[in-house]
């Protein structure tokens, strides 16, 4: 099976791009992550992640129209590619399979400990 490299932050970015669907560009992605996950995201971290994902062909981009508030600069919209979708599914599956493999007792112990503490 192909190996899909997807880091934690990268996965978040991919998911957010998927959520935003038609409106995924730098600022909107940044805001979406910040509001949903309640954590700060720097432009630099986000853009470098986007570039890496694009280089891996998980994302594709196209330039939108330039607008007044952006000083005449275009928005760059991102979309998930088929490969990107595969990578996301793969990551999800590996996680699910790991979850499934956890014996129920293992988690119970934790609960037990919690109780006794």
């Amino acid at each position: 099976m192909k190996k899909f490299q997807l880091g934690e932050f990268e996965e978040i970015v991919m998911l957010t791009v998927a959520i935003l669907y038609d409106d995924a560009y730098g600022v909107s992605i940044k805001k979406e992550i910040e509001s949903r996950l309640n954590r700060g995201v720097s432009v630099g971290a986000l853009q470098s992640a986007l570039k890496r994902l694009e280089d891996k062909d998980y994302l594709k981009s196209h330039d939108g129209d330039a607008t007044q508030e952006r000083a005449g600069r275009p928005k760059r919209y991102y979309k998930i590619t088929a490969l990107g979708k595969e990578a996301m599914e793969y990551t999800k599956e590996t996680r699910n399979s790991l979850w499934d493999a956890i014996p129920s007792i293992s988690l119970d112990v934790k609960f037990a400990r919690l109780f006794h503490a």
């Binding site: 853009q47 981009s61 508030e69 000083a71 600069r73 928005k75």
Partner: protein, 886 residues
């Protein structure tokens, strides 16, 4: 709209990957706007700065070279491709440009080759930058001399800053004989002292450098001489015999080597062998004899050894480390002051080693070199031709600007800047010049052997080897030509405004056409000047060749006696069948070898002393050359004892006798000798001078002194002179087994002595050929361009009933005017310039307006053929063809 901190915005733009700059900047701006409204400008600024700094990371920063280089590569590729396509598409123009540039470049390359090879000489001396030669200037004598007084070298050693000094004394030219081995060869060279090998970098193949030139009677020989004399034995320590024959150090081959009476210089011991073929140098010698020998030979007079005389010795100085030439000059100035009384108004200058090979023209040269002035003239000629060819390129490119205008417009609309378009056209012209370089190399390979075959060039002896560094120089040269030729068109074309050219209303402007016409006229003026000059020189050369010398030179073979007794040789050679007559003489008339003397009728100091040619001939000489005695009688075998002379008519007139008979039995004093000579005969004037020297309008005195005879003149009868020559040389060998017979036919010697002028004519002729070729190519280009643009006009005119002649006149008129203007300027110019030199030489060929007309006619015909080829094509074209499309 608010402005974020500009410094950081600029910083961001600078480091960011160009592909990401715009969207990220947009994001930053959007966020900034929001933050300003939300948090105020200060905080927004701070956050903006933080964002920018956090963007400064690996994925965002542009690669160090990547994108820019890729872009350039793509553009370069495109420029190159478009350039090649244009060359292929417009074959006529490409041919005109490439061919014109190539022939012009070939000449420049030839001159680069010559200079590069001269520069190679004398690079082997380890201390070459510290070696200087002392030159002498004499008051009232225009030319500097390469020689200096004999005591100079020794005197300079008393001055500080001089490590070593040495001198070369000229005057060795004769035969070296290895008597034990019965071998002999001719050798020329110098007297040199023991410092010779310390100043210069020559190494000995055999022998010790420190002692080779130390003792009297030591001789160092060249490897060529050693190979001839001592093939199988060790040359060191061998005894040789030297017979001085007064051969000139510089070998000029007129087919007859000058030699005077033989003097036995005694025995020498070979102390060293130098392989000169390893050393490209201006000091050429077959033998060096130790200077200590000079005093043993009665070879130099006391005057010649003194400070007052300067034509014998070449002084070379090796300065100490760190001493500059100006210090040497200071020492020389001091010598001039100190020895003022004995110096006879001489003063001295220094010449650095590197200035010797490509340097100014000097009297008493040590070797024949093309002086720097010669290079200047050649370089100027080559530059004129090159400039002319570049003008063609410029002219044609501008003329054809229209065909490229749309392309430039489209390029500019697509974002090309002025710089880009400029660059594109420069690349195109460099491309053309590099292709021309290839063609030029082929042309060079063709003309090089022709050039090296020229008589004068053979004597200057340049080697024209192609080396890697010269090829690099050619390449750089081609680049320069490309840049130069392309500069103006590229500047002009890159200035086009896209709106104008795409609309199609680009006016070529009549003023600019005027400039182009002016350039083309200049080219034709040059061409016509070259053509006329070449015709004048070649006519002059032919005139020299056909000069009637007033004597019979047909089938006379001149043989240098090479030290043999003329009586024995004459007696032996006269037995050879086919020999009609033999005479002997000191100098041969009509060759540039002379023996002058001055004479007067009374011998008094204040009397008129007339210059004259003082010949010595055997009694049979006059008959052999068919000279006519018009008064008195010829010399006989006893004449020398009775001090009898035969003089020419010109001399009798100088002496004041209108009737030659009056001069008989008159006395003459020659060169201040106490005893007078008696005139016993007068010969009819004949041209005994070399054609360039004069027409025989000088006094000629002939005596019969057998001791100085150096040539035999053999008249050969019959139809097979070569067979007789062969018999003669066999006979010669039986008398003199040591030397080989050297004989040249008289007519050939005369031709060879004038050959330099033929060569000059050939060189100027070649330049004329190039100039007219390039001018015509330029004209052709303009004609092609103009006629092509007017094809439709011609079509319409034809339809409306215009005749071919009328059309041809209409199309060709402006070009004819152009040619006419060029002739009007160049014809008088070349007439007067050529008149200037030709009036100052003797034996002028008739020079008049006819020559100028001939030159003009040649140019006119070539020009009309050029224009006609195009005009004819257009006027003959079917109007249906030209009007049909569209």
């Amino acid at each position: 709209m608010h402005n974020p901190p500009q410094l950081f915005l600029k910083f961001f733009r600078w480091f960011c990957h160009p592909r990401l700059v715009k969207p990220i900047e947009g994001d930053l701006m959007e966020l900034y706007e929001e933050r300003v409204l939300e948090l105020g400008k200060k905080k927004a600024d701070r956050k903006f700065i933080k964002d920018v700094l956090l963007l400064f990371r690996k994925d965002i920063i542009k690669p160090a070279e990547g994108s820019i280089k890729l872009n350039y590569y793509g553009m370069l590729k495109n420029y190159f491709k478009v350039g090649v396509r244009n060359i292929l598409k417009y074959k006529t123009f490409s041919f005109i440009n490439i061919f014109g540039l190539a022939v012009a470049m070939s000449v420049s390359m030839l001159i680069i080759l010559m200079i590069a090879n001269q520069d190679k000489a004398d690079q082997f001396h380890p201390n070459k930058e510290r070696i200087y030669r002392i030159l002498t200037a004499k008051e009232g004598d225009g030319m500097l001399r390469a020689t200096s007084p004999l005591p100079m070298a020794e005197e300079l050693l008393n001055y500080s800053g001089i490590e070593k000094s040495t001198h070369l004394v000229r005057g060795i030219g004769g035969d070296i004989e290895a008597r034990d081995l019965n071998k002999s060869t001719e050798a020329r060279g110098f007297f040199a002292d023991e410092n010779f090998f310390e100043v210069f970098g020559f190494e000995l193949e055999e022998g010790a450098k420190s002692s080779a030139l130390k003792d009297p009677r030591s001789i160092v020989i060249s490897k060529a001489v050693a190979d001839r004399l001592f093939k199988d034995v060790d040359p060191i320590g061998q005894n040789i015999q030297f017979t001085e024959r007064g051969l000139d150090a510089i070998k000029l081959d007129f087919g007859v080597a000058r030699g005077s009476e033989s003097v036995d210089w005694g025995q020498y011991i070979v102390t060293g062998v130098v392989d000169l073929s390893k050393y490209p140098t201006h000091i050429k010698f077959d033998a060096l004899i130790s200077s200590a020998t000079i005093d043993q030979l009665e070879f130099l007079t006391d005057h010649q050894k003194s400070w007052g005389h300067n034509s014998r010795s070449y002084t070379y100085v090796l300065l100490s480390q760190g001493v500059s030439g100006s210090e040497l000059q200071a020492s020389l100035n001091q010598i001039t002051v100190e020895k003022e009384e004995i110096l006879n108004e001489q003063s001295f200058q220094i010449q650095a080693m590197e200035e010797i090979n490509v340097g100014r023209f000097l009297a008493n040269p040590i070797a024949l070199r093309l002086p720097i002035e010669g290079y200047y003239i050649l370089a100027i000629l080559a530059f004129a031709i090159m400039f002319s060819a570049c003008l063609n390129y410029t002219n044609l490119s501008i003329a054809r600007a229209l065909t490229r205008a749309k392309e430039i417009g489209v390029r500019k609309v697509n974002g090309a800047t002025k710089k880009d378009v400029f660059f594109q056209f420069m690349i195109e012209s460099i491309l053309i010049s590099l292709i021309s370089l290839l063609v030029a190399n082929a042309v060079l390979a063709l003309i090089k052997p022709l050039f090296l075959n020229l008589w004068a060039i053979q004597h200057l002896g340049p080697e024209l080897d192609l080396t890697f560094s010269i090829l690099i120089q050619f390449f750089v040269f081609a680049l320069c030509v490309g840049v130069f030729a392309g500069l103006y068109p590229a500047t002009r074309l890159s200035k086009f405004t896209p709106v104008k050219v795409l609309k199609g209303n680009l006016s070529s402007g009549s003023r600019k056409l005027g400039l182009k016409a002016a350039l083309n006229i200049t080219q034709f003026v040059f061409s016509l000047f070259f053509i006329i000059t070449a015709i004048v020189i070649i006519r002059q050369f032919n005139h020299y060749l056909s000069t009637d010398y007033g004597m019979q030179t047909n089938s006379i073979l001149n043989i240098p006696l090479q030290g043999n007794d003329h009586k024995i040789m004459m007696a032996e050679l006269s037995t050879v069948p086919g020999v009609e007559q033999i005479s002997a003489c000191l100098t041969i008339p009509a060759l540039p070898i002379s023996h002058g003397a001055s004479y007067s009728t009374t011998g008094a100091d204040d009397e008129n002393w007339y210059p004259s040619e003082f010949m010595s001939v055997s009694p049979s000489f006059a008959e052999n050359l068919e000279l006519t005695i018009i008064a008195g009688k010829n010399l006989d075998n006893e004449s020398e004892g009775r001090r009898e002379l035969v003089i020419n008519e010109f001399a009798t007139k100088l002496m004041g006798h209108d009737n030659p008979n009056d001069a008989i039995n008159q006395t003459l004093f020659i060169d201040k000798e106490a005893e007078p000579w008696k005139v016993i005969g007068v010969i009819k004037d004949f041209n005994f001078q070399s054609a360039i020297m004069g027409e025989g309008e000088q006094s000629l005195l002939m005596r019969n002194d057998p001791s100085v005879f150096s040539y035999l003149n053999i008249k050969i009868a019959g139809n097979d002179p070569l067979k007789v020559t062969k018999l003669l040389s066999e006979k010669w060998e039986s008398v003199d087994p040591v030397h080989q017979m050297q004989g040249t036919f008289y007519d050939e010697s005369i031709a060879r002595s004038n050959q330099w002028m033929g060569d000059l004519g050939a060189i100027i002729g070649y330049f004329a050929f190039l100039a007219i070729l390039i001018s015509c190519l330029g004209l052709l280009g303009m004609a092609v361009y103009t006629t092509e643009r007017r094809v439709k006009e011609v079509g319409i005119r034809k339809v409306l009933g215009a005749g071919s002649t009328q059309l041809a006149l209409m199309l060709g008129r402006s070009f004819l005017i152009l040619l006419g203007v060029a002739i009007v300027i160049a014809a008088p110019l070349s007439y007067f310039v050529n008149k200037l030199w030709i009036e100052n030489i003797p034996n002028q060929a008739p020079f008049g307006v006819g020559v100028v007309l001939l030159g003009s006619l040649i140019m006119l015909v070539l020009g009309i053929l050029t224009i006609g080829s195009q005009v004819f094509k257009v006027t003959k074209s079917n109007p249906v063809e030209s009007l049909k499309y569209e």
